[in-house]
Symmetry: C2
Subunit: 247 residues, 2 copies
Amino acid sequence: MAVEHTGTGDPTRSMALLWRAADREGRSGLSVDRIVATAIEIADTDGLGALSMRRVAERLGVGAMSLYTYVPGKGELVDLMIDQVLGEIDRPALPGGWRAKLEHVARANLALYRAHPWLLQVGTARPPMGPNLLAKYDYELGALDGTGLSDVDIDTLLTAVLAYVTGAGQAAVEAAQAPARSGMSDDQWWEVQGPLLEKVFDPQRFPLAARVGAAAGEAYGLGDPDRAFDFGLQRLLDGIEAFIGKR
Amino acid sequence: MAVEHTGTGDPTRSMALLWRAADREGRSGLSVDRIVATAIEIADTDGLGALSMRRVAERLGVGAMSLYTYVPGKGELVDLMIDQVLGEIDRPALPGGWRAKLEHVARANLALYRAHPWLLQVGTARPPMGPNLLAKYDYELGALDGTGLSDVDIDTLLTAVLAYVTGAGQAAVEAAQAPARSGMSDDQWWEVQGPLLEKVFDPQRFPLAARVGAAAGEAYGLGDPDRAFDFGLQRLLDGIEAFIGKR
DNA sequence: GAGCACTCCGTACGGCGTACGGTACACCGT
DNA sequence: ACGGTGTACCGTACGCCGTACGGAGTGCTC
């Protein structure tokens, strides 16, 4: 099964599940909601790789196959997990201008990736069209509404910001997870990697890598991803500002 | 095993493999290079999910366990695949200014993701420090060298561009793959999804999503990711230009 | 010719998603 | 009270996965 991608099952059934048409409880207390919540817990703490039907069932005190009464398969379960956590995203009514709003959107999405890193591993093409996805889209469009931009420009600019957040968020989340996952701090990693690299790396051949790498390494270890996230975001917002100004 | 993340094995052994210290051929013609090349073929055509040791071995006409003579495990194999394809990236000496160069870097990385979509599924924290990774880093830094920026700024700006490319590339690649993966064109998908959505979606509650979604959908189906990629990239480069101008 | 190092791989273990078919419970009409 | 029926639950099994282990075959060195 390709957990990484979405939309494998019967679309009508998926839609009914996403919008929770008829989510009754079985006699052992099982329900779509409970299954989804448990699966999210597992993926949050141990990663998407550790998510298995047997593991979810075990945590619910139920046989693995019982889950299939509520959910067609693992792919659909992941779809449900996605829409569920999209509902958690912070959506306050903001007073400021488009820039402050867009900045909030970027940070809220980063926070979401931090809370649910497995989101970065699931495909976003043909997304599960659940209520929370739509609510999120509607809210985020609001950041650029009223700027005089065309609807298409609004959509494209939002897409650009979210693309940046996805890429930079991936780097930030992975960097944050690396020590726990490997049992090794960044410093420890460099202590091992550095000497090995010195034996094979020729600074003459890659002078820029040597010079800049050293400077960057000195400035912030392997790279402080939070500062990098903000810095890049500001550049992108500057560019968007220039674009809006030109209209 | 967590294929999605890297750096699990013995670092000394990994380094020796990456830099191909002593890549001899066995009596059945097996070698690290051949194993890596075969694994890349499989991942390119059928995705990382279809990559298995048995499958690689089968294609090489060899028992699965024979691979372990050359490669410590699947994790290390993926590391080798990464460094290998990073070597393919287009690295011409470019005449223009920093902007043209950075634009080339972005496009070359996008092309790389297109050719090897599985790259988007592997972690980038603690990357495999192979010769091609270093060459790529050195080359890409060259785009911003000579602009008068500090080394740290050069590194951070490059990181920002690459983050954008990763995020936008993910969207572009997934959008391109979706029809083949699902056997359904974007239009067909909407034909199924649209009516289902209409039954549950309330335009009153999400007026922006309704309005902009419709406009965006009309303008370019589910979204032309190539145009979106370029558009966002130009905004980011505009922002970087403003930053460089201020120095 | 003996010994040895190294390549190759058959088997097996514990995991996975899920198809299939059976069991047992809850509720219905009578 | 009772039989009938739908559905919740789940034991088992199949074909995958990564890889530990130990054995077999090959070719080189003395």
